[in-house]
């Protein structure tokens, strides 16, 4: 995108305006997330930058909201004691539990579906694919409403099992999409070669196909995991008071007692997402390398 040396003044102005616009858009995408981080270290109970913070006064910063988040209570700090309950940590534990269970289930089922759908002889391929991906397209509010009625009838509402099943439905399309796209480059003659050498289909799958589609499975699983971990609509409709997840805690935090604790939680989640993003990028590179696609 470098400007040629013979560019006219008009072209130069246009070029720098364009660059400035792009910087603005990228800033628009990231700035709110970055602004959360310093503000989470505030010592005041308000959600705005105080003049003391802007002056970099050390007293204006503290880790009290992180303490509140982790349920470490200061006896001295009265104002924090009202906030000091362990709902954040238990919520995170719950979310983790639902996310792990539903991810395992979604990865298993999604991979099965992707393997079947990648078979060239599969009948009604397009229609089934459209159906398998539809949970991504149908608004969550409609899915949640449907499940709320149905789960109440089959005694699954307000149960852990119900939530894990619902999250599996939401996570499955991601696995189907990512595994299908790794299977696009899959060389079927490898399986035939395996069979020729005497491997059973199961053995061949685990020895040949699985290692090759593993990056797709893992990145699909990551999508499923983050979806379940972050899910708020369905839990509001089918979860009881015992299913108090982290997003639910944030939801009530935003709606009722908004305090900087939510910012410390947000900061940790932003860092968490950066970690996930890095993992995914490394996986993608690995997948391209072992499938012999050179990065462009």
């Amino acid at each position: 995108m470098a400007l040629p040396i013979y560019a006219t003044t008009g072209q130069r102005i246009w070029h720098y305006t364009y660059l400035a616009f792009c910087v603005f858009v990228l800033f628009f995408l990231v700035a709110p997330l970055v602004a959360v981080i310093p503000l989470s270290f505030t010592s005041s109970p308000f959600l705005n930058f105080t003049p003391e913070m802007l002056a970099l006064d050390p007293d204006a910063f503290s880790v009290r909201w992180y303490k509140a988040l982790f349920g470490i209570c200061d006896a001295v700090d009265d104002s924090a004691s009202t906030m000091c309950h362990n709902k954040w940590m238990t919520g995170a534990g719950r979310s983790l539990y639902y996310a792990v269970c539903s991810t395992l289930l979604a990865t298993f089922l999604g991979t099965l579906a992707a393997l079947g759908l990648s078979n060239q002889h599969m009948p009604a391929k397009r229609a089934i694919m459209a159906l398998m991906i539809s949970p991504l397209i149908v608004p969550l509010i409609i899915t949640a409403a449907g499940m709320a009625f149905f789960f109440a009838r089959v005694n699954l509402s307000n149960t852990d099992a119900g939530i894990i099943l619902a999250y599996t439905i939401l996570g499955m399309p991601f696995v189907v999409i990512t595994v299908t796209s790794t299977l696009v480059g899959f060389d079927r003659s490898l399986m035939r070669a395996g069979a020729n050498l005497g491997g059973t289909p199961t053995y061949n799958f685990f020895k040949i196909q699985m290692p090759l589609i593993a990056p797709g499975m893992i990145s699909g699983a990551l999508f499923a995991f983050i979806t379940a971990f972050d899910e708020i609509v369905i839990i509001l409709f089918i979860g009881g008071p015992d299913q108090h997840t982290l997003p639910r805690q944030m939801w009530s935090g935003i709606r009722q007692e908004i305090s900087p604790t939510i910012l410390s939680a947000a900061t940790i989640l932003v860092l968490f997402s950066v970690l996930l993003l890095t993992t995914l990028e490394l996986l993608r590179r690995r997948s391209e390398r072992i499938r012999g696609i050179t990065p462009h």
Partner: protein
């Protein structure tokens, strides 16, 4: 083949003596079965826990079975009434029988349904049902003693709306129409008209957000597609990081940015652009919904446009300029038409997601930023008018499925890429 085997006239055989064609068919069938067996468990899982529940909910939008099960005699007697004269003793007797025989909770549910047809039914039935055990014929007088509104023909005539087991009343309500007592379609009362406004607002917000996303995404995608890979990957993190961050975290982040004492207002005041008392209100209103939804959905627009732009060889632009086009003309006539698939994919994706949004408008929309999704949630959880919620959900779903179908036709769902 010069050295053809002796059986050249017969069909070609495989080693075990089966005709090749048949053998191929068997293997094809086996492969098909294997594929089907693989797809079957996830498919059944999806059908039982996703398709059936949603289908089930959608039937609620036309379902008027409950009321017909609770008041069978009443509706039978209603059919014999000429709808002009005073309600007859037979009708009161039928109503008495139904109230006496029905389950208490069913009567409660039915009276809620009847209240939608004529507000007042609920209290009327409640007062009457309390005295039902002591009633004796003639029932007309007994009913009138319980509540003199029973002589009001409007109540009786409103039964006409509910006498069929399938109703389209909820759909009418969802677009600010209603049935009159003779089941003619009429406009909803002026003060109860809210839904058309909401539909329009939902479509308006979705279109504005889609256009805003396109305007912001297109230049950035172009930059990402033309920069060297190393730098582009780095900038791509800016696009993907919000994509991977919790939705609620992003909303909290925007609250900090946009509130009255937020970062944006503080900066503008400090820069002298705004005076302290003229701080912009960008949160809990229409603007808040637009700004936050645009940021949340922007990656959905950038990614497809970017991936299409990646495939366009830069030599095309150079060729066009070689042939005498100015850079602007070359861009408009040569480059832009090739990016249309990406634009289409991004726009449909953003529009589909935006139109069903619920969480963001709920938290940052305030009063005039609420969308139809919020109304569905309201009727599901608060007013408990499930029929109306289902009807609005069905309309929303149909709109989305049309766009999904278009998306599948133009781009193909198997081309959907993640991250």
């Amino acid at each position: 083949m010069s050295t053809a085997p002796a059986t050249v006239d017969g069909p070609l055989l495989t080693a075990d003596g089966v005709p090749l064609k048949e053998s191929l068919q068997i293997s094809l069938r086996r492969s098909k079965m294997r594929a089907l067996l693989l797809v079957l468990p996830p498919l059944l899982f999806l059908i039982f826990l996703f398709v059936i529940p949603i289908g089930n909910m959608l039937t609620r939008s036309v379902d008027d079975n409950l009321i017909n099960d609770v008041l069978p005699n009443t509706f039978a007697a209603f059919e014999t009434w000429d709808k002009k004269s005073e309600p007859t003793e037979a009708m009161f007797e039928a109503f008495y029988k139904d109230l006496r025989d029905a389950d208490r909770t069913d009567i409660g549910k039915a009276s809620v349904r009847m209240n939608y047809a004529n507000p007042g039914w609920r209290s009327l039935i409640k007062r009457t049902a309390r005295k039902i055990d002591k009633m004796e014929p003639p029932y007309k007088e007994a009913f009138l003693k319980a509540d003199d509104r029973w002589l009001d023909q409007d109540f009786w005539r409103s039964l006409g709306i509910m006498k069929d087991r399938v109703t389209f009343g909820y759909y009418l309500n969802a677009v600010d129409l209603d049935y009159d007592y003779d089941k003619n379609i009429i406009q909803q009362d002026e003060e109860r008209k809210v839904y058309n406004l909401l539909w329009w607002r939902t479509i308006k917000v979705s279109i504005i957000v889609t256009i805003a996303c396109l305007l912001l995404a297109y230049p950035v995608s172009y930059l990402l597609a033309t920069l060297p890979m190393r730098i582009a990957n780095l900038l791509m993190i800016c696009v993907l990081m919000p994509f991977w961050t919790s939705l609620l975290v992003r909303i909290v982040a925007w609250m900090i940015m946009l509130q009255q004492n937020g970062v944006v207002n503080d900066t503008l005041v400090a820069a002298g652009v705004l005076s302290d008392e003229n701080r912009l209100s960008m949160m809990y209103n229409f603007n808040g919904t637009i700004i936050v939804m645009t940021q949340i959905l922007l990656p959905f627009m950038i990614l497809p446009i970017y991936s299409v732009m990646k495939t366009i060889p830069p030599s095309y632009m150079k060729a066009a300029q070689n042939l005498g086009a100015t850079p602007t003309l070359a861009f408009i006539r040569v480059y832009m038409p090739q990016t249309i698939p990406g634009i289409g994919a991004g726009c449909i994706l953003v529009f589909i997601v935006a139109i069903g949004y619920y969480i963001t408008p709920e938290l940052v929309g305030g009063k005039d930023g609420r969308l139809i999704g919020n109304m569905v949630a309201y009727h599901m959880q608060r007013s408990l008018n499930w029929g109306l919620a289902a009807a609005m959900g069905t309309i929303l779903l149909c709109v989305i499925l049309v766009f999904y179908w278009v998306y599948d036709k133009i781009i193909g769902i198997d081309n959907m890429k993640m991250g």
